[in-house]
Symmetry: C2
C-alpha cells in the first residue's frame, strides 16, 4: 500500500486490517465455542445463551451469574512509544487505564459488577521491563484504574516473549471477571424495547479504537503527532487521553435500583454499535454530544463524512445505556455526579433495525454491523 | 551472546530471559495489586489473602469462591512454526491445548472447577489468520481441550496487531474463571502439613516450559528439530506433545470426596515448584517417575546435571498433589483411571524448607525458589 496523498480521504479500510482474512476464523471459533456451553450442565449450571455474541460471556451458577472476558488494548501502545520518543515523557499510566477500560467497559454491558482484573503484559524481550519510568507508570496507572473501578488486581503475567512480541514493544491485555448479583441486573437485551431512552456517556477522546487510522494520519501530517489540533494540544497528547472507565456509573445506577435494559460499549465500528442487539428496533437519536477536539480534527484531516466518522469513531459518546424512559434523567444525573457528561440522546422505537442520527442526517442499516 | 560450542553445557541462563530486568516490575506490580484486595469489602466480599502468590487469585463471594487467572503460552508457537516449515504439518491443535493447559492447570491448584475459558489470539497481522489449515487446527484444538476440561469457551479476542506482535507470529494466551464450591475445596495450603503424601502426575513431555532452552539446543544440533531423539521420534515432534490437562483428575477426586491439601503445577523452575507454599516443610521424594524421552534427550544434550535438570524441566512430573496419606493410593488410582500415570512419590515432613529427591540425591533449599 502506498501512502495516500495528503489531499485524499483516509479511511479505516486503508489501515491494513483485513477482516476478510480474520472473519472465517472468527466464525469457526464462534461456532466451536457455542458448542461448549453445554458443558455447564455437567456442573449443574447453564450458560446464558443470550450472552453469546454480547460483549461478555455469562454463566448462571445458581445464586448469581458469573461474567468474564479478555480484551486487548490493540495498538495504542505504539502511539505512546512514539510520543515518548518525541517528548521524553511516559504515557503508560494512561495506557494502563485504556487496557483495563477495554475489559471493564465491556464486562459491565451485561450488568456485571467487575470484581477481578488480571494483567497480561507480554513484552518483546526482558529489556522492555528495564525502562523503570515506563514500568512504574504502567504499574501506577493499572493500580489507579483498579481503584476507580473498585476491582481487585488479582495478578497476571509479565512474560518476555522475544520473537513473538515485536522487539521493543509490549502486548497489553486484561481479563476481567465479575458477578451479576442480584440476578435481576442481567442485561443481555431481553428487556430492551420500544419506548426505552438512549443515554450516551461522554468519551474522553479516541479511547482505544480508531488508533490505526490516527497513526496513518500522523504519518501524513507534516508535524505528525506534534501537530496542534487547534486547542493548543498536540495530536499525540490528545490521542493519549485515557479511556473513560464507566463501571462507577453502572454501579451507582445499581445502587439506586436502576438496571439498564441494555448497554453498548462504543468501540470499534463507532455508533454502529448501537445496533448491537439482534432485535429489530429503530434507534432514533435526536441529540448528539459535543465532539472532542481530537475526533473533530481527525474527521476533518481524514476527510471523513459524518457517515464514515460516526461509523468508525466514538464521536464523543463512549458508552450507551438503554434505560426505561422514566429513569433517563436520573441516569444522566448520576453520571454527571461522577464527572462524566451525559445526555438523553434519543429513544428506541418499533421499526426496522437501524440507527437514525437526526441532527447529522446519518442512517445505519442492519447490514452495517455484522458481529455474529 | 555468541552461540555456545556444541560441547559446552547449555543452561536456562543462556536463553536470553533476564529476570533481573523483569523482577523489579513484578515486585512493584505485586505490591500495588495487593493493595487492591481491599476493594472487595465495598462489594460485601473479601479476597482470600492466602491466594496472593498462589497460581490463581481467589475471592470469597459468599456462597462460593471465585478463582481467576490469565496465562500465556510463551514461545512454544515459534517451535510449531518452525516444525510446520520443516514438515508441512500444522501443530496448532496441540498448541491450543498447551495454551489452555497453562491456564487450567494453574486454576485448579486452588481447588477450583474451571468453568469458562476465554481465548486471546493476537496475530502480527491479518495475514496470520489467512492460513486456513493452521486456523482450523487452532480452533479444533481449543475446542477439544475445552471438551476435555468440561469448560465453556466463552469467547475471546482475535486482534491483528501489526507492529506489536512480531510479523508472521501469534501471541497466544487464555484466561480462565472458575468457582470453588463447596467452599471446603479451597486449597491454598492451610491444610498442607507433615504426614501428607506427595502424588505426582505424569507429564507428556516438555509441556510449555523450558521451550527457550529447547530452541537453543535445536540451534546447535546438526539436524536441529529433525534430530532423532533415540526412539524414532524427531526432537521437534516430541517437543510438541501437548501439555496434559489435569482438571479431569481434580474434578474426579472432588467427586470422590478427596480434596487435596495443596497442589503445585510443575512448570517453570521444574521440581523447585514443590517448594511453592511458604510453610517451612521438607518434601522428601522417595520415587521419581520415568523421564520422558524428549526430556532425557535434552538433559543429555544440554549436559545438565540432575540438579539443573530437575530444577528447570518437569522431568516426567507435570503436576503435584499433596494429599492426606490415607487418600494417596486412591488418588493414583483415579488419575490412572483417566489415563494419566501417577505415583505416590514421597511425603511431607517437619523440617527445614527443602525438597529432597533421594533417588538422584538432589536437594533444593528454600532460597532456590523465589516467587513472592
Amino acid at each position: 500500500m502506498t501512502a495516500a496523498p495528503a489531499s485524499a480521504p483516509l479511511t479505516y479500510d486503508q489501515t491494513g486490517v483485513n477482516y476478510e482474512l480474520i472473519d472465517p476464523l472468527k466464525v469457526a471459533a464462534q461456532r466451536a465455542a457455542a458448542q461448549t456451553g453445554a458443558h455447564m450442565a455437567g456442573h449443574g449450571f447453564s450458560e446464558v445463551a443470550a450472552s453469546r455474541g454480547e460483549s461478555a460471556y455469562v454463566v448462571d451458577v445458581g445464586p448469581m451469574y458469573l461474567a468474564s472476558i479478555v480484551e486487548c488494548l490493540g495498538t495504542k501502545a505504539l502511539l505512546a512509544d512514539e510520543m515518548a520518543r518525541l517528548t521524553g515523557k511516559s504515557y503508560y499510566d494512561g495506557i494502563a487505564q485504556d487496557t483495563i477500560a477495554m475489559a471493564v467497559n465491556d464486562l459491565i454491558t451485561v450488568g456485571a459488577t467487575p470484581l477481578v482484573v488480571q494483567a497480561y503484559w507480554a513484552a518483546g524481550g526482558s529489556d522492555w521491563f528495564g525502562d523503570a519510568q515506563r514500568s512504574q507508570a504502567l504499574v501506577a496507572g493499572w493500580k489507579r484504574a483498579c481503584d476507580i473501578c473498585k476491582v481487585a488486581w488479582g495478578g497476571g503475567e509479565t512474560p518476555a516473549l522475544a520473537g513473538v512480541v515485536a522487539d521493543g514493544r509490549v502486548d497489553l491485555a486484561a481479563s476481567c471477571t465479575g458477578i451479576i448479583s442480584p440476578k435481576e441486573r442481567l442485561s443481555v437485551g431481553d428487556r430492551l424495547g420500544a419506548g426505552d431512552a438512549i443515554v450516551l456517556l461522554a468519551s474522553s477522546g479516541i479511547h482505544a479504537n480508531g488508533v490505526s487510522l490516527a497513526r496513518k494520519l500522523a504519518e501524513r501530517l507534516p508535524q505528525g503527532y506534534l501537530t496542534d489540533i487547534g486547542n493548543g494540544q498536540t495530536f499525540g497528547e490528545a490521542l493519549l487521553a485515557p479511556t473513560v472507565l464507566y463501571s462507577p456509573v453502572t454501579e451507582a445506577l445499581a445502587a439506586q435500583g436502576i438496571n439498564p435494559h441494555y448497554c453498548a460499549n462504543i468501540t470499534g465500528h463507532g455508533w454502529r454499535k448501537l445496533l448491537r442487539h439482534p432485535k429489530p428496533l429503530t434507534y432514533r437519536i435526536a441529540q448528539v454530544p459535543p465532539v472532542s477536539p481530537v475526533l473533530a480534527f481527525m474527521q476533518k484531516e481524514c476527510q471523513l463524512d459524518d457517515h464514515e466518522a460516526y461509523g468508525t469513531l466514538n464521536m464523543g459518546a463512549g458508552f450507551a445505556l438503554f434505560v426505561a424512559a422514566k429513569d433517563a434523567a436520573r441516569v444522566v444525573e448520576v453520571a454527571q455526579g461522577l464527572g462524566i457528561p451525559a445526555l438523553v440522546a434519543g429513544s428506541v422505537e418499533e421499526g426496522p433495525k437501524q440507527v437514525l442520527i437526526e441532527p447529522i442526517q446519518v442512517v445505519y442499516g442492519a447490514d452495517e454491523l455484522q458481529l455474529r
